[in-house]
């Protein structure tokens, strides 16, 4: 980041992101969000507020959805992080991604990464959520465009698709 009249204390962080190991020289004052976006150029995860209110920066930290803006980079040392860039596996879209596309759950797209990550965590833990459970899970993700209806439908659609896939 830019200078100013502050000394930026550096530190080295080793972590796994989207199944790839990274060793990064980062700052002690850097957040995981800043490490992803600024240190590594993984800009798929967005900063909407920086204070844990909007959910746009949601990533999975050891499988759990967290606001990356409120995790220090140094705390992520030794962890496994999954970001939106890691959802495509073997060239295939994750079912939650296909569902968002099919349902028209993406407009400006700024909330999308956060929504996808928290949905992925929800469906991993609870493959057949009810609509109230879906709404509860995304309660920490703000969307200014869609009115949430299609996002909720997309998540339910993804859970049905996965259930159908498992039934085969």
């Amino acid at each position: 980041m830019t200078g100013g009249n502050r000394v930026t204390v550096k530190t080295q962080i080793a972590l796994t992101i989207n199944s790839t190991p990274y060793t990064v020289d980062s700052g002690l004052s850097q957040t995981l969000l800043g490490l992803l976006r600024d240190d590594l150029g993984l800009t798929g995860t967005k900063e909407g507020c920086g204070t844990g209110d909007c959910g746009a920066c949601t990533v999975l930290l050891d499988g759990k959805p967290v606001n990356a803006c409120l995790v220090l980079a140094v705390e992520a040392s030794g962890t496994e992080v999954l970001t939106v860039e890691g959802l495509v596996v073997g060239g295939e879209l994750d079912p939650i991604q296909s569902a968002f596309l099919a349902e028209g759950a993406v407009q400006c797209g700024f909330c999308t990464a956060g929504m996808l990550m928290v949905s992925k965590a929800l469906l991993t833990e609870n493959p057949t959520p009810t609509e109230p459970e879906v709404r509860q899970a995304i309660a920490g993700d703000l969307c200014r465009c869609t009115g949430y209806v299609r996002i909720v439908r997309a998540i339910l659609r993804a859970s049905e698709a996965s259930a159908a896939g498992r039934g085969n």
Binding site: G3, G44, E85
Partner: protein
Amino acid sequence: MTLAIVGQPVERLDGIDKITGAAIYAADLRFPGMLHAKALRSPHPHARIVSIDVEEARRLPGVIAVATGSDHPVLAGEAV
């Protein structure tokens, strides 16, 4: 008559980019040697600017430039 587009679900042209994190937003842009700028606006509406002292700001480490209206050749509202 079935229409090709009207009444059909049409996938967003930029949908894939947005759901994979590939879409570039303004805050995602990065260029070599990129500078970061911030606008400081008057806290007082309808005030008359008497003077703006930028010397201390200019001297801060890391500051490349401080620009004010007086650096601009044309004043707002002026015809060119």
